[in-house]
């Protein structure tokens, strides 16, 4: 019989579409996604218990049936990203979802989305108050919505109630999925990797030695003229639609592919520029 010492209990309250199952290491038999039920959601916590004044990480894992995809929480032509709405007890605080690097996906009709195939793992910090009661449990309710698409789209929604034990010391559990999720997150942009400049309403990006750059804008990026045309090239020339007297900002992810080595994806954030003051080469 598997140990449940470090395993919080998860209670499935209801589900409409898709399947939500118990967390890591539990004895629950894991279901596999299929075309008729393309998303299976698993929730794990790291560590397996909460500690007063410290944080616990929720690891949301969406397993997808073959060829189905979920959407990134950035700019897309279609669909919407998974939504997780939490209800927490007073004093407990939820951080934002941390999104891994998506794939640029172009489908028939020049439709551009940024998506995940296979699996999507989202991580989220939950802060426990200093006065969380030792020996008790914290109940967290989650309302999860998603849209999975292949050659059709299927919306899903499920409600989960999670009970996490509160103990004086955190266990050392580290589910594999949490490590995988962390490895897929975009990282801050190091100095001197990119050469950038505004030329009127066009933002030029070059990375010496790169064979291909891919830009994936977040929703707070300035409005682009044509991301499909401009968003992937050896050197990027991103055309922006001016808004008043400014263009930009340039916010999102950039993937740099070198001739050798694995692609690396970085977060970029360049402020809006004065359109009228932007000079070629400036």
């Amino acid at each position: 019989m598997p140990s449940t010492r470090n395993i919080p209990q998860f209670t499935l309250v209801a589900f409409l579409m898709g399947t939500a199952i118990l967390g890591a290491g539990c004895s629950a038999e894991k279901k596999q996604p299929t075309d008729s039920n393309p998303v299976v959601i698993t929730l794990e916590t790291v560590p397996g218990n909460a500690t007063p004044g410290d944080s616990v990480t929720l690891v949301w894992k969406f397993d997808l049936a073959a060829d189905w995809h979920l959407y990134w929480a950035g700019r897309n032509d279609t669909g919407f990203p998974p939504l997780i709405d939490l209800e927490l007890p007073a004093g407990w605080v939820a951080g934002g979802l941390q999104w891994p690097v998506p794939e640029r996906h172009v489908s028939a009709g020049d439709i551009l989305d940024h998506v995940y195939f296979g699996e999507l793992i989202l991580i989220q910090k939950i802060g426990a108050p200093d006065d969380a009661i030792l020996g008790g449990q914290v109940e967290i309710k989650a309302d999860i919505q998603w849209l999975a698409c292949k050659d059709m789209c299927v919306p899903g929604r499920t409600h989960l109630t999670v009970n996490i034990p509160v103990r004086s010391h955190a266990d050392n559990s580290d589910p594999n999925s949490a490590s995988r999720a962390a490895a897929r997150l975009p990282v801050p942009l190091p100095d001197r990797i990119l050469e950038t400049r505004w030329e009127a309403a066009t933002f030029h990006i070059h990375s010496p030695g790169a064979r291909r750059l891919t830009f994936m804008p977040t929703d707070d990026c300035g409005q682009l003229v044509d991301l499909l045309e401009d968003g992937q090239a050896e050197r990027l020339a991103l055309r922006f639609k001016p808004k008043g007297e400014t263009v930009g900002p340039v916010r999102g992810l950039i993937t740099i592919e070198q001739e050798s080595g694995n692609p690396r994806t970085y977060r970029i954030d360049y402020p809006a520029a004065l359109h009228e003051a932007a000079h070629p080469g400036g």
Binding site: N76, T78, K141, P217, Q223
Partner: protein, 202 residues
């Protein structure tokens, strides 16, 4: 209980700029002309309506898309928006640009949908996707409003909630139609359409 929205993407707030590529028809552009046949074999030509001084609403349609179901089955957004203006010089045309064999394609499926959803306007079949591509229609639904002088007055979403379930607080099409009928400027002429992808052949 505290209700935490920090991880809940505010779909409505992001709608105006959420589309990946805004290339395509911009407000003020000339609307591409077309002639298409509806589920009952009747032919419809855009220019005919414009010559009659009509305002034309185009709705990209796929009866099996969850977002179309949201606005045609779970709610009656399209029917109600049309009902409010149909006697006031507004024509509403749904267009299905799904290719043969794709989800929601086929005369029978669309004929059935007209009855099932009690659609009071024609559903035109654009199986080649030619008209959809001319408009750069990306989603179902994707809405366009064309003034009687043949100019695009609105391009984008029906409302400001991108989910497959909830209605938005603002119906952009109803708002734009009201402004046009009152001879006023459309304050929000372009938003990001949302929904399923149009099921083009290539």
């Amino acid at each position: 209980m505290n209700r935490s929205f920090s991880m809940f993407v505010s779909l409505g707030a992001l709608l105006l700029f959420a589309t990946a590529s805004m290339a395509g028809l911009a407000p003020g552009d000339k609307a591409p002309g077309f002639t298409l046949t509806d589920t009952e074999g009747a032919e419809y030509t855009l220019q005919t309506f414009l010559d009659d001084g009509k305002i034309v609403v185009l709705e990209w349609f796929n009866p099996d898309c969850p977002f179309i179901k949201k606005h045609h089955a779970n709610h009656k957004t399209m029917n109600e928006t049309f009902a409010a203006v149909k006697d006031d010089g507004v024509v509403w045309l749904a267009i299905n640009s799904g290719a043969k064999g794709k989800e929601g394609n086929g005369l029978e499926r669309n004929r059935k949908a007209v009855k099932e959803y009690e659609i009071p306007f024609p559903v035109l079949i654009d199986e080649s996707g030619e008209v959809g591509r001319a408009y750069s229609a990306k989603t179902t639904p994707h809405m366009f409003i064309i003034t009687s002088d043949g100019v695009v007055a609105y391009n984008g979403a029906i409302d400001d909630d991108r989910s497959a379930a909830k209605l938005g607080k603002t119906n952009y099409v109803a708002t734009a139609l009201k402004a046009l009928r009152e001879g006023k400027k459309v304050e929000t002429p372009e938003t990001s359409a949302y929904g399923c992808s149009v099921k083009y052949s290539h």
